[in-house]
């Protein structure tokens, strides 16, 4: 190759592959290592792989797919309306708070969210009497498929709405301008401008929600009403915990992973949205009265859905001995541990996402898209943790390494969130700034910090925040085998609940929720409305 053709470096400028390849090797290798270690341990102990696939398992597989599919539809379709409403009204009072609220479910341990939902809709919930009067029969609560679905929508509708909002914000300004000048009616605006952006984001978001619901465990058990509502993840947990049958766990995990990869590859064939980057404020035409009413309804319903259980959690905890808890060294210690785990995992996840996005080989882009769809969720933290414990055993004391295992597992699981938040803007910025960067001789790390780092400061902070919150709510792979070296806030909460101290647990849920809201508010201030 000669360097006479000036456009050659400009065509593929500063595509940095090495870090992306490293991330893929570490992430893929990590998952493979965990599964291999489990399988090896199982073969040693003579465990039977085949026994993993019996009739009960067949039922579990069917139920897993069925509830995950329903949960996905119920979360993703309303999320489209909510995201449109949020985008159409970029400045109404309380919008910032609403977006912060939308990030909150991620950080709530499943048990706390379930108790919050039941405080409203349970047999003894706030609404039970009204519902009894309304239906004419004693309100049975929401135990069964309906409870699982409501809880999954509580967790995933706000998440999906945020991702769709990111997609809408990446629509270039001139499209909105043209639409306004043409005076497009709402339906045409949706069909011609909004839908293409949403449709491009749809497969990835839907896959992610689907996999999150498919690997759901605590919620399914608490709200499912009985073992007829069993997911594969429950079987994985049982195999690892009660039976200590690593082979069976590995077989089940492989089944989950194979299904997820199949779905992921299908989704990856739909290209990630690549749109020119545009300033998005105040470019959309003001919606009509009728439209505004529709948007207000969508936002109001979503706000109630998310805020009501959160409020129930806060109200229940407000009467707890908060002062005593705040002065308790165990609580302070757990809060600091949680923060350290969340921050480390978030930095690792966002760093890995940036590395993947900086590479532009089609293969890497496809793998990144699959990752963005959350294929890694299928590996499940329990399986990853267990596998790594077994793999590390000959080398180091795995319990000394427990903090790193927790951070690494959480980072892997937060990676899809980070990718999904960063991808649209990132691609757009790359296209937009390629020529300029090339002409200035900016490449690699320098270009990253000077160009993308500035243009994408807001999504970067948002991605860090989301990844951090996700890790904050995680009970940790450690719960399986135990290590008092990593006592996080959710783990402490469970421990208090496990010793009759329900008031302490309610108080800790209060502190965790409020703490997350404060963190989200700080991140907003810090990044000049990054989440707005």
């Amino acid at each position: 190759m000669t360097s006479t053709k000036a456009h050659v470096p400009a065509a593929r400028p500063s595509a940095v592959h090495a870090p992306a390849i490293a991330v893929l090797i570490v992430a893929g290798g990590g998952v493979a290592l965990a599964l291999a270690a489990l399988a090896a341990a199982g073969l040693q102990s003579g465990g039977a792989f085949i026994a993993a696939f019996d009739g009960v398992m067949g039922r579990a597989v069917r139920f897993t797919l069925w509830q995950a599919a329903l949960s996905t539809v119920l979360s993703v379709v309303p999320a489209l309306l909510v995201a449109r409403a949020l985008h159409a009204h970029p400045a109404f009072p309380g919008r910032g708070l609403l977006l912060r609220l939308f990030a909150l479910p991620l950080a709530l341990p499943a048990l706390i969210a379930a108790l919050g939902l039941l405080a409203l809709l349970g047999r003894n919930g706030l609404l039970a009497d009204g519902l009894t009067a309304l239906t004419g029969a004693r309100w049975p609560g929401i135990y069964g498929l309906e409870g699982i679905l409501i809880a999954h929508v509580f967790f995933n509708l706000p998440l999906a709405a945020r991702f769709f909002l990111v997609a809408l914000e990446a629509v270039p300004a001139n499209q909105w301008r043209n639409a306004r000048q043409l005076g497009l009616p709402p339906l045409a605006l949706f069909r011609l401008v909004e839908w293409p952006a949403l449709r491009a984001a749809m497969p990835g978001v839907a896959l992610m929600v689907f996999l999150l619901c498919a690997t759901s465990f605590t919620l399914v058990l608490i709200l499912g009403g009985g073992p007829q509502a069993t997911t594969i993840e429950v079987a994985v947990y049982q195999a690892l915990r009660f039976d200590f049958d690593p082979a069976r766990a590995a077989a089940l995990a492989l089944l989950q992973l194979a299904a997820a990869i199949t779905l992921g590859v299908l989704v990856a064939r739909v290209p990630m949205p690549v749109t020119p980057f545009g300033a998005t404020r105040h470019t959309r035409a003001r919606p009509s009265m009728g439209e505004t009413l529709m948007h207000a309804t969508a936002l109001g319903l979503a706000a109630v859905l998310v805020a009501a259980p959160v409020l129930a959690v806060l109200l229940r905890g407000a009467t707890a001995p908060l002062r005593t808890l705040l002065a308790d060294p165990a609580v302070i210690n757990a809060a600091l541990t949680s923060l350290a785990v969340a921050l480390s995992a978030a930095l690792l996840a966002v760093g890995a996402a940036v590395a993947l996005l900086s590479a532009r080989t089609p293969m890497i882009m496809m793998l990144a898209a699959a990752g963005g769809g959350g294929v890694l969720f299928a590996a499940s933290p329990v399986v990853l943790g267990a596998g790594w414990f077994l793999a590390l055993r000959p080398l180091v004391d795995p319990f000394e390494a427990a903090p790193f295992i927790v951070v690494f597992a959480n980072a892997l699981l937060a990676l899809p969130f980070a990718l999904r938040l960063l991808a649209p803007g990132w691609r757009a910025s790359q296209l937009r700034h390629d020529r300029l960067a090339a002409s200035l001789g900016l490449a690699g790390w320098r270009r990253l910090t000077i160009v993308e780092g500035r243009a994408l400061a807001r999504p970067l902070v948002a991605a860090l925040m989301l990844a951090g919150l996700l890790s904050l709510g995680d009970l940790g792979v450690i719960a399986l085998f135990g290590s008092d070296a990593v006592q996080t806030l959710p783990a402490l909460l469970h421990a208090r609940l496990g010793s009759y101290r329900t008031d302490d647990a309610a108080g800790l849920a209060f502190l965790l929720t409020l703490g997350c809201l404060v963190l989200l508010w700080l991140a907003d201030r810090f990044s000049d409305g990054a989440l707005r």
Binding site: G122, G224, G226, V234, F389, D397, D484, Y500
Partner: protein
């Protein structure tokens, strides 16, 4: 940052190994978290043992619960740092013994006062209790008086139970029903399933739902009301006495093969069956002592349900049948 945390961890573990060498002797005990919590028996037990061992250092390492305890020892294998593992129950001892990681004890088992007596030469009880249906007196005037009444009662009066696949009390109820109904257990479960509000992964979730008022009954222990009466001063939650008897849980400790070489391990097992240890069980672990205490228990314990019949399968029976009985339970719920 992971980097600096690693440095700190290294420094700390170096420091720990230096003090390890300097100490008179160290005894490492693996146990579950609620035992070592500041309100649990751990701190008092540590103080009492260190006062009589002559300058030794007792160190607790805690994990979530008994099942996690066994898994941790299994993962560590012969390299385990545990001298003693404290907190397994009799449903786990056959599997624990099969690992070959535990050594026989030379203690005088006649000191053990657990109903039904004790003969195991490896595992030694430190407390025990009975499973019971705890009910809310404000929501339920006529609690069931037998397992049969629980099974056949009004389906509108719900109970929260735990999953036998992931929880010790859940497994306890499974064994209880099996013990009373024998081969008709599947039928009994089919009937009982109409009264089950939901099946939670562990005791905490079930008890949380119960105290939130979601169901008037929960599967717990005969000693649960003692906590509410002593710590909260309320008589609202009571246990129902069942005519067929109550299924028993016996919590045990054992020394590891490596721990047998540490003279402190045998010393601790002997100490465990003295009042200096047993005095802390009732009001800190909310279980019943497994050996003599120095004084009678708080009078509240006299008011608890005292089963006339203790039901218990041998560890070997449980190990041999657990998988089959769980399948049967799943089938009954599958309908």
């Amino acid at each position: 940052m992971p980097g600096s945390r690693f440095v700190i961890a290294t420094v700390l573990s170096l420091a720990a190994s230096i003090t390890h060498a300097a100490a008179q002797g160290v005894l490492t005990i693996y146990t579950y978290e609620s035992f070592t919590a500041e309100w649990g028996p751990g701190p008092a037990v540590e103080q009492a043992f260190e006062a009589q061992c002559g300058g030794c250092d007792l160190r607790f390492v805690s994990v979530a619960d008994g099942v996690a305890l066994l898994n941790r020892v299994r993962i560590e294998g012969e390299a385990t740092k545990a001298d003693i593992v404290l907190g397994l129950d009799t449903n786990l001892t056959t599997e624990a013994a099969a690992t070959g990681l535990f050594a026989r004890h030379d203690q005088d088992v006649s000191k053990v006062t657990v109903p039904g007596g004790w003969t195991d030469r490896t595992f030694l009880p430190f407390d025990h209790g009975w499973f019971a249906v705890v009910y809310d007196t404000q929501a339920m005037a006529n609690p069931p008086r037998s397992l049969k009444e629980l099974v056949e009662g009004d389906p509108d009066q719900k109970i929260v139970i735990q999953d036998p696949r992931s929880s010790t009390p859940g497994l306890g109820l499974l064994l209880w029903v099996r013990h009373v109904y024998g081969n008709d257990a599947a039928d009994a479960w089919r009937k009982l399933s109409r009264r089950v509000l939901t099946v939670t992964p562990g005791w905490s979730e079930a008890y949380g739902l119960f105290t939130q008022g979601e169901a008037p009954m929960v599967l717990s222990y005969t000693t649960s009301p003692a906590y509410h009466m002593i710590a909260e001063g309320t008589e609202r939650y009571q246990a129902a006495a069942f005519a067929e008897g109550h299924y028993q849980q016996i919590e045990v400790a054992a020394q590891t093969v490596a721990g047998k070489r540490n003279p402190l391990a045998a010393q601790f097992l002997a100490f465990m069956l003295t009042p200096a240890f047993q005095d802390h069980i009732a009001e800190k672990n909310w279980m019943l002592p497994a050996a003599a205490t120095s004084a009678p228990l708080n009078p509240v314990f006299d008011r608890l349900v005292k089963p006339e019949t203790s039901l218990l399968f041998s560890p070997d029976e449980v190990a041999a049948n657990r998988a089959r009985w769980i399948e049967e339970w799943l089938g009954a719920f599958g309908r």
